[in-house]
């Protein structure tokens, strides 16, 4: 650090030291890797220099100008936090940005909002019953008595005594948030606590924000039997996990009509509802994704084991599902109106026999080499764990002389592969012609965004389609994927994704039934 940044304590300071002291205070609080820290300080030093010069032109003294320039930069602590977040946050932000950009246009184009109230009631039972709403009297905390460099222990004690309780702090849980800085004797590291008249909730909001703790794991508290318990969202999630049952029979009636009692249709539909919940409510926390929450289905009931705080969201999803017109997506009705060159070959004898009711679909490829097409299919099915078990590779035959790929499988399965091949074989010229780039947010109804991500990568052999680069980002939180690239490629990807966003369980079951 140069001498200009040395700390001086005097009532009247030379202007350069005012600036230097500010930078030194910022330097002490700025936790960034060295080259970044140096650059930030250099940049601000340069800013102060020029700002002071400009202000002096207006006739103020150098000291006044410096004072004002420093004031404009605000509290060094707050500034340091902003720089730290700017350094760390981009990955998260990038996705949010695209979503916002995408959502704005998607909402305008499709009117994607549903305002209709659901017509079907979902019966639910909660065990144990939700706790009565907790309310700690929210008096402002009297922080005046605390030393300037407040320690966590003091802060929690003060918060508890303000509401007449004794504090219980789960330090172990808190250290999961930030292993280095939690302990009774550790400092909060937030400067201007004194003089702020804030309640406990407001203080925690401030601290969580300043420390950059994200919404799904931050400092929280609960009031219980004369104690105020401090820990984290994850800690309380573990403690407040509930087993809840939802009876979805009415939803099924709305959805399946006369088939609502059909034992062949019900399990699939109930599974679909469970998948919908997993996709839409904090997808990372379900057992299938390595978390601890679970959904088990039995008849028309869902047994859901989740932290209590998520129940309202699950119920919202169920209400919305009750209102959905699912007929349009239903499994067996693959849309053939687009004039796919799918046709039944005159001679299906070369194909190995598929048991059960099978369909043979052949596609004569114009552009893609049939052997390459077959390899792409294999790649796709190998690259995605959930597809491995329903691989159709052994039912695919290639006739090199007529450039025909034939697939024998259940009707739905065969048609799917047929459509996939058609899409891969589409002319690339119109795609490449456009130099414009665009971006689309594509919500997924059935397949998880990570699965779609790997599926597309497997099919595209990386991130190139028709020789043009694209970017694909999976957004598990919304279960959507964001694609960005040349407009034609984005459109092609959109179609491909719509096709792939299908109920994979069904082909898997069919595969098992056929004895694969």
């Amino acid at each position: 650090m140069s001498a200009a940044l040395r700390l001086h304590r005097a009532d009247t300071q030379p202007p350069a030291d005012l600036a230097g002291e500010f930078l030194a205070r910022l330097d002490r609080r700025l936790h960034l890797p060295q080259p970044h820290r140096r650059q930030v300080l250099d940049e601000l030093a340069c800013h102060l220099d020029e700002r002071v010069r400009d202000l002096m032109v207006t006739g103020v003294t150098e000291e006044q100008a410096t004072r004002r320039a420093v004031e404009e930069l605000g509290d060094p602590m707050v500034l340091a936090r902003r720089f730290e977040r700017a350094h760390v946050a981009p990955r998260r932000r990038r996705i949010m940005n695209m979503l916002m950009v995408g959502l704005a246009s998607a909402a305008a184009l499709t009117g994607a909002m549903t305002l209709r109230a659901p017509q079907v009631t979902i019966r639910s039972a909660v065990y144990p019953p939700p706790d009565a709403v907790q309310q700690v009297p929210q008096k402002p905390l009297d922080v005046q008595g605390l030393p300037p460099d407040v320690q966590w222990g003091d802060f929690f004690s003060l918060a508890a005594s303000t509401s007449g309780k004794s504090p219980v702090v789960h330090w172990g849980a808190l250290r999961e948030l930030d292993s280095d800085n939690f302990g009774p004797g550790h400092s909060l590291g937030i400067d201007p606590l004194v003089d702020q008249k804030l309640t406990l909730d407001q203080f925690l909001e401030l601290i969580n924000t300043e420390k950059g703790f994200v919404a799904d794991n931050r400092i929280e508290y609960r009031e219980e039997e004369g104690r105020l318990v401090f820990a984290t969202t994850h800690y309380f999630d573990r403690r407040e996990t509930r087993l809840v049952t939802y009876d979805v029979s009415e939803l099924l009636r709305a959805r399946l009509g006369g088939d609502a009692d059909n034992p062949d249709r019900v399990p699939g539909a109930v599974h679909e509802i469970a998948d919908l919940i997993r996709a839409l409510v904090e997808s990372g926390m379900w057992d299938v994704n390595g978390g601890s929450a679970s959904i088990t289905t039995y008849g028309t009931k869902l047994f859901v084991r989740v932290p209590q705080r998520l129940l309202p969201r699950i119920e919202w999803v169920l209400e919305q599902a009750a209102d959905a017109h699912i007929g349009a997506h239903q499994g067996a009705s693959v849309d053939r109106r687009q004039g796919d060159p799918l046709h039944t070959p005159r001679d299906g004898a070369a194909l190995p026999p598929a048991a059960g009711s099978s369909t043979v679909v052949s596609v004569q490829l114009q552009r893609v080499d049939p052997a390459a097409a077959r390899q792409i299919l294999n790649q796709a099915f190998d690259g995605v764990p959930s597809l491995k078990q329903c691989s159709v590779a052994r039912w695919i035959t290639v006739d090199a002389s007529s450039r025909t790929v034939s697939v024998s499988a259940t009707q739905r399965h065969a048609e799917f592969v047929g459509r996939l091949l058609t899409m891969l074989d589409r002319p690339g010229a119109d795609v490449v012609a456009s130099a414009e780039s665009s971006m689309q947010v594509i919500p997924l109804a059935r397949v998880s965004s990570e699965t779609m991500d790997s599926l597309i990568r497997a099919i595209a052999g990386g991130s190139t389609l028709y020789g043009r680069e694209f970017r694909l980002v999976a957004n598990p939180q919304q279960n959507s994927v964001i694609v960005e690239g040349p407009t034609g490629v984005v459109t092609a990807l959109q179609e491909l994704i719509a096709l792939l966003d299908t109920d994979w369980e069904e082909p898997a079951k069919v595969g098992a039934a056929i004895g694969r």
Partner: protein, 131 residues
Amino acid sequence: MLHKDAQRDQAELVILSLLDAQGPLYGYAISKEVSGRSDGQLRLTPGVLYPLLKELESEGLISGSVEEVHSDRKEAAPDAAEGRKRKWYRLTARGRKRLAARIEAHRTWRRVIDLFIARDPMDHDQKEHGR
């Protein structure tokens, strides 16, 4: 929260547009341009501007390079005789893409909001007049 995000996104749009229109600029020049072009109606305070520049740089939307400048106020900062380091920013290809998307989103947003806003009083007057 949304409010804050929206403000930040608007600031991003402004900065990217400026760099697109003007070519490379450094932080202080950006803040002067912003208040100058908007007749002082829009201000990017340095406490917001510099962290945002850092964020845009981390995202790869802009890239910075440092230039040594010699302070003409050496008497004020005698120890900085080696000169100040001024950081210039320019728009990257990715930043240009983002800018296009932001502009599009902004236009869509404006179009949609316009649907809710009562007719322009001028329009109204003309109609009244015409009757």
